[in-house]
């Protein structure tokens, strides 16, 4: 059971890497916390459900569409909200309030428009039946979502370290003011990062019905809490640390489900407290976090 829990935890945790990746990118670049991240994930799931039920579109195709649409949605949302926010005296704190409000609005509008019931996609779309990995039976959908997460991490890495825009993004992550002083179009760089973040949430949403069973308009808050734990464990502002945070969360959750199942929902909070007490900069963080 121990081996099974660890193997399942690693694969499951990779999905949460995908969930947390965008949230961490936004924090790294803009030093704001997007509490509507989970709601954008929910919208990604709703989009996949709608594209399948209306046009029969396979979720993997929907994922590509969601990336394009969500990046395009993210850009105007950024320009509408974030520059004003960053001009305020305490943008980190105000971002919590503003994006919490946005989260509530998205949930309410979705509930009014679609109702509060569960929605899902047929399991057969990503293959029915188990896949054996190191002697552990895992749903095929987990392998797909873990692969999608791996690809996303790789693409974000390539974007940050192999493209000119990525270099500028890292410059903004180090110091927004210095980047501005050197003539970098900080707002454009940030808007692209925000769009990518929303798109990553949307892609995670496409896989949500296969990992979480179903999508409901109210799922955003719980997703945010978990995603926040993942990125704090991995290190706030370090998108690659999210990979480690996701795996730690996944393995811990599966071990909790195996040996102490009744308490499993406390895990995100326990991880948060433990990391903040023992290593507040996160596992991959520097000694003094810039946030």
């Amino acid at each position: 059971m121990l081996t099974g829990a660890i193997v399942a935890g690693v694969v499951f945790g990779l999905y949460y890497t995908l969930v947390g990746l965008g949230l961490n990118l936004v924090f790294g670049v803009m030093r704001i916390v997007n509490l509507a991240h989970g709601d954008f994930l929910m919208l990604g799931g709703i989009a996949a459900w709608w594209l399948f039920s209306s046009f029969g579109l396979h979720p993997l195709v929907s994922a590509l569409l969601v990336i394009v649409v969500f990046v395009l949605v993210g850009l105007p949302v950024y320009y509408l909200v974030v520059p004003r926010l960053l001009r305020s005296r305490d943008s980190e704190m105000l971002s919590l309030i503003l994006f919490f409000g946005l989260s509530q609005m998205i949930e309410a509008v979705t509930t009014i428009g679609l109702g509060a019931t569960e929605r899902s996609l047929p399991p057969r779309l990503l293959g029915v039946g188990p896949m054996i990995l190191l002697g552990t039976r895992l749903p095929k959908a987990w392998i797909f979502s873990a692969a999608a997460s791996g690809i996303a991490v790789l693409l974000v890495y390539l974007y940050l370290y192999r493209t000119r825009l990525g270099t500028l993004t890292r410059a903004v992550m180090v110091s927004r003011d210095e980047a501005l002083a050197t003539g970098i179009d900080v707002n454009f760089v940030s808007a692209v990062a925000f769009g990518i973040s929303i798109a990553l949430a949307g892609v995670a949403g496409v896989f949500a019905p296969f990992i979480l069973g179903s999508i409901t308009p109210n799922m955003g808050v719980a997703i945010n809490i978990t995603a926040f734990a993942v990125i704090v464990v991995g290190t706030l502002g370090n998108p690659l640390g999210t990979l480690l945070g996701g795996i730690i969360y996944g393995v811990s959750l599966m071990l909790m489900q195996t040996y102490l199942s009744s308490w499993a929902n406390l895990l995100p909070n326990l991880l948060l407290i433990a990391v903040l007490l023992v290593r507040p900069e996160g596992i991959l963080g520097r000694k003094v976090r810039r946030a």
Binding site: A5, E118, S120, P130, G213
Partner: protein, 417 residues
């Protein structure tokens, strides 16, 4: 002079006695307070209940109001309803508001044990009778609290007894020897799980080899199913809410694990909802309760199931994002109990309401079967038969067939190999 004094005395006595014997003025409306959850984890069970209840309110008001015996006339109903958004903290505030600010005549709880749980002590403290629609947690019903009665579901401690009876009876004959129980840790499913474990231990025919609770927020069961499969039980009982059952059934199919007997509560209770999310193949031969939305009882009051379903579709047409299922029946059924209560209560005093509700016990038969209350307010009628989702002859759909007890069975159970 003496006769004048006598007449004056009689007049005074008459004047003094008059107001005491007079009927209080009839109110212009009967205020019913209710809560519902339009969002959050309990929305999918709360909204159908609320919509079913509203259907009853609309019907009654369309006929001129509810017949209120205490005033000898029909009085319109005013429904005061608030959205607790599935939050127990919000629900507690709103229960208080309905009682202390709105001064409702009758108080109806939100659906399910979680959102009812906070209303029970508040209603008791304010001596306000609580119409508990479907909060089945056993802890709600105590001998020292006369201000509650369970309407539409049996109390959790007796509800699951047909499952254990079947496994100990038919199941044991067919080689079922071990069972795994996986439940969500809340009043509703936690109490059922504990009751089942007790039944199995009492009967001694089926051994419980796995008994674990998971948070109600659990949305992934893969590792739990793998752990259960490692113990190789003959039967698996998963007790959770709608979201739990969806995730469990999907993960069970994905895992490829097979058990001879698998039970979930909502596969049958909210069949349409689960089928939409899980698919037919993952539900085939799953056991579940057969709720009143899938079983025709003969009522002595109110619409029967077919009439109710027609009325439902008229009010909430297909595509209106309102699911028909057991919870829709429960909401309407709670309205029927209130209807009969008003028709028989001596006054709107809360203890008179209590007496009127308990006076219906054993007498009222609705589309949800026979309404029977234990003296502490727990519902002990309306026990749902055990059913199985079996392929409908040659068609791509499933029938929920009652298989136990024998006097209610409409078909024979099929156990896996």
């Amino acid at each position: 002079m003496r006769s004048k004094a006598l007449a004056l005395g009689l007049l005074c006595i008459a004047a003094a006695a008059g107001p005491a014997n007079a009927q209080p003025a009839a109110p212009t409306e009967i205020k019913i307070g209710a809560l519902y959850a339009s969002s959050g984890p309990y929305a999918s069970i709360s909204m159908p209940v609320f919509d079913g209840f509203k259907l009853w309110v609309d019907q009654v008001n369309a006929s001129g109001g509810a017949e209120v015996k205490a005033f000898g006339k029909k009085i319109p109903i005013k429904l005061i309803a608030y959205d607790d958004q599935s939050s127990t903290a919000t629900a507690a505030t709103l229960y208080n508001q309905l009682i202390t600010q709105d001064h409702v005549d009758l108080l109806v709880a939100d659906s399910g044990s979680v959102l009812t749980s906070v209303g029970v002590p508040i209603a008791k403290e304010h001596k306000q009778f609580l119409f508990d629609v479907s909060g089945t947690g056993a802890a709600f019903f105590t001998d020292d609290n006369p201000y509650i009665a369970l309407m539409a579901d049996p109390v959790s401690t007796i509800w699951p007894h047909y499952i254990s009876d079947y496994l100990a009876d038919e199941g044991a004959k067919q080689g079922i020897k071990t069972v795994a129980i996986l439940y969500s840790t809340n009043d509703f499913t936690g109490t059922q799980a504990a009751a089942l474990k007790g039944f199995f231990e009492r009967d001694g025919k089926v051994k419980v080899v796995y008994y674990q609770g998971v948070p109600t927020s659990t949305s992934n069961y893969t590792v739990l199913i793998n752990n259960i499969a490692a113990l190789n039980p003959d039967a698996v009982l998963e007790l959770g809410y709608v979201g739990n059952d969806i995730a469990f059934l999907r993960n069970l199919q994905d895992s490829g694990s097979q058990f001879r007997f698998v039970f979930t509560i909502y596969a049958g209770t909210e069949k349409e909802e689960i089928e939409k999310n899980v698919g037919i193949s993952a539900m085939t031969n799953i056991f579940s309760y057969v709720p009143a939305s899938n079983y025709e009882y003969t009522p002595n009051f109110g619409m029967n199931l077919t009439e109710f379903h027609d009325a439902w579709l008229k009010k909430y047409p297909v595509g209106s994002n309102v699911a028909f299922g057991a919870n829709a029946v429960y909401g309407y059924m709670a309205g029927l109990v209130i209807d009969r209560t008003l028709a028989s209560t001596k006054s709107l005093d809360q203890m008179d309401i209590h007496d009127a509700v308990f006076g219906l016990s054993g007498q009222l038969k609705t589309l949800d079967s026979t309404f029977v209350l234990r003296k502490d307010g727990a519902q002990i009628g309306e026990v749902t038969p055990l059913g199985q989702l079996q392929p409908a002859g040659g068609k791509e759909e499933l029938d929920l067939v009652a298989v136990y007890p024998p006097d209610l069975a409409k078909g024979k159970a099929v156990l896996g190999k």
